[in-house]
């Protein structure tokens, strides 16, 4: 049988990882961005992951309670 909606763990993980990464890029990792060709990749990529995570959570919330569409 079907377990919990997979969008919740995906959304949760990427929201958390994105926030961690973006936070680190903003406050802690500026010195390291020499390596990534002067791009603050932690900040930008963290923000992208955060957006993806929130989108997944929003989809899960919007779909909550509705049974998955079955087509037999």
């Amino acid at each position: 049988m079907m377990g919990p909606d997979i969008r919740i763990p995906i959304g949760g993980m990427f929201t958390l990882l994105g926030a961690l990464l973006a936070g680190y890029g903003l406050f802690g990792g500026a010195a390291a961005s020499q390596r990534s060709l002067a791009v603050n990749i932690d900040l930008w990529w963290g923000a992208a992951m955060l957006a993806f995570g929130v989108l997944m959570l929003a989809l899960a919330w919007w779909r909550r309670g509705k049974p998955p569409a079955r087509e037999d």
Binding site: M1, M2, G3, P4, I6, P9, I10, G12, M13, F14, L16, L17, L20, L21, Y24, G25, G28, G29, A32, S33, Q34, R35, S36, L37, V39, I41, D42, W45, G46, A48, M49, F52, P68, A69, R70, E71, D72
Partner: protein, 567 residues
């Protein structure tokens, strides 16, 4: 490579979610079908992403990046020629028989269509193969972690085995599938910045093209050799793979790719977990869309690395050399992770790599426990037990499978050549498989004896062909020529492709001849198993654009356009 606290935190978050998913699914595992086939309840987009992700183990990621450096753009043929057409064929033409027959595994389909001996032959070779593949995954991960993080071999093996064991025991196939989807997104997010930063470093696409022209000319090829696909296949001498267009189209594009994607239970199992016939058919078609784009994620890094090494990039990215002075292509991905990623991103990249090693293991373990339980244990050891009994056997098989993988990992570590030998044997066994399925599904006259003897003949033909030929520059032995050397191939890849072609032809011919000489099965028993005796699946409930045939045509068009752009 020196990970900092933030990198360890990122890895920790991932492992927490992996185990959390297993724990959340624990209560959903009530019957053996829940455990082995996710109760056939998963929507197509999830099984589709799992389908592609199960195949995207770390060896694939590292190997494709290495090939991108060694052979350039032509490596993408493994995707656009060697995967997409076969995936479409599986979804449109073959899935109705796999899913529709209610077979619980690929070997079980062989039992329904042919007989017990054909099933057992396939089940045994598959079970041994999955255990060793899982072990090789574990071994490769331990090797890489020792190199990158200085971890002890035994610690890496124990850690990966324990995590995979826990989440499969708790959540069965569903757990494996959910983690594969998680891994899919991790790989995309972990490796895409590598490509973006690498391209920026080398001066964009134009810089890459200029670099690859230097690479090609410096190795004695035409300037286009690292950039073209079909255009450099006119003769085996005009491309670094040493493969001509016929070997490419027939060997890789037809025999090897259809043999893998259409008959390997590891990937087919994901589609069998889908919640309806339509969802099962859409699984490989949905998977084909990201599959088409993966060359840009996994092959481009290799092309960037070689261009940078030979031509020079702004930040001086250079591939390391092995002891014998040749470039160490397998280091493309680890090198670029360490070179471009600051703390934070480094943690993400390492996590993506570890995730792909572990899903590679888990995919093999979930396929192994199913085939062992249904096709070996239930078929030969204890046929009529309760469902609860088989569920428990499946759990024990999971533990045993992981235990055997650990043994395989240590064996690989001690004796590398045993592994080469085994992979060669697997290649011989797998090469003819597609001929058997093709005839079984589309020619109702094919008999069980025909299938069985055909498979043996195909395997024998593969072995004999390998024993009589040798790639240029190789010594007779494990590389071929162990009977006598009648023919030299320009490369090992060409030899592999032609070995597969010979195996297919031998299996096809023998199966037809033996089938004509033996009694076919009663047509009434073959309904739902053979094309001409099965009602066409209707998908009228679907919007027109979601129908398998329409999706299939769309996917093929996409692959065709990519072939033309990178001709």
């Amino acid at each position: 490579m020196h990970p900092r606290a933030i990198d360890w935190v990122i890895m920790g978050v991932y492992f927490t979610f992996v185990l959390g998913i297993g724990a959340a699914l624990r209560r959903a595992m009530r019957t053996s079908t829940d455990f082995f086939l996710s109760g056939r309840s998963i929507p197509a987009w999830i099984t589709g992403l799992a389908f592609i992700s199960a195949n995207l183990g770390a060896q694939e990621v590292i190997g494709m990046a290495a090939s991108g450096a060694k052979y350039g753009m032509a490596t993408s043929q493994f995707y656009w020629v060697g995967a997409i057409p076969a995936m479409v064929f599986l979804g449109v033409f073959m899935m109705p028989f796999y899913y529709g027959s209610r077979a619980r595994s690929v070997p079980e389909y062989l039992k329904l269509r042919f007989d017990e001996k054909t099933r057992t032959l396939n089940a045994l070779s598959f079970a041994v193969m999955t255990v060793f593949s899982s072990g090789i995954s574990m071994y490769a991960m331990a090797l890489l972690l020792r190199l990158l993080l200085g971890w002890d071999f035994g610690t890496s093996v124990a850690l990966s085995a324990l995590i995979v064991l826990i989440y499969i025991l708790l959540g069965g196939l569903t757990s494996a599938i959910y983690n594969e989807v998680l891994q899919f997104f991790l790989i995309v997010f972990g490796f895409a910045p590598l490509v973006l930063l690498g391209l920026k470093d080398i001066g964009g696409w134009h810089g890459l093209v200029a670099g690859l022209e230097t690479v090609a000319v410096s190795r004695g090829f035409g300037p286009h050799a690292w950039l073209g696909t079909w255009s450099v296949m006119g003769s085996p001498k005009s491309n670094p793979m040493g493969v001509g267009w016929l070997g490419m189209a027939m060997g890789l594009g037809f025999v090897l790719s259809f043999g893998y994607w259409c008959t390997d239970f590891l990937v087919v199992q994901r589609a069998l977990a889908a919640d309806s016939m339509d969802a099962a058919r859409r699984t490989p078609l949905i998977a084909a869309v990201p599959k088409m784009l993966f060359p840009f994620l996994v092959i481009l890094p290799g092309m960037i690395a070689i261009a940078s090494t030979v031509h020079g990039g702004a930040s001086g990215l250079t591939l390391p050399r092995k002891a014998d002075g040749s470039l160490n292509y397998d280091m493309v991905i680890p090198l670029m992770l360490g070179h471009y990623f600051p703390s934070g991103m480094l943690g993400l990249g390492l996590t993506a790599l570890m995730a792909s090693f572990m899903t590679g293991m888990a995919g093999n373990v979930t396929a192994f426990n199913t085939v062992w339980t249904y096709d070996i244990y239930q078929a030969h050891i204890r046929p009529r037990a309760t469902d609860r009994h088989y569920l428990n056997v499946g759990r024990i098989a999971t533990v045993a499978g992981i235990g055997l993988s650990i043994v395989a990992a240590y064996v690989t570590n001690r004796f590398n050549n045993i592994m080469d030998l085994l992979q060669l044997l697997f290649a011989f066994v797998n090469a003819p498989l597609f001929a058997t399925f093709l005839l079984g599904m589309f020619w109702k006259r094919t008999s069980g004896h025909g299938a069985f003897i055909g498979l043996l003949a195909g395997t024998a033909a593969a072995a004999v062909h390998h024993g009589l030929t040798l790639p240029a520059g190789a010594l007779a032995g494990i590389r071929g020529g162990w009977i006598a050397v009648l023919h030299h191939y320009p490369s090992q890849m060409a030899q592999n492709f032609w070995t597969a072609i010979w195996a297919f032809v031998a299996c096809f011919g023998t199966t037809v001849l033996v089938s004509l000489a033996t009694r076919p099965r009663d047509e009434r028993e073959l309904a739902g198993l053979v094309y001409s005796l099965t009602e066409r699946p209707r998908s009228a409930s679907q919007a027109w654009f979601a129908r398998p045939a329409v999706l299939g045509v769309g996917v093929l068009l996409g692959a065709l356009i990519l072939n033309l752009i990178f001709w």
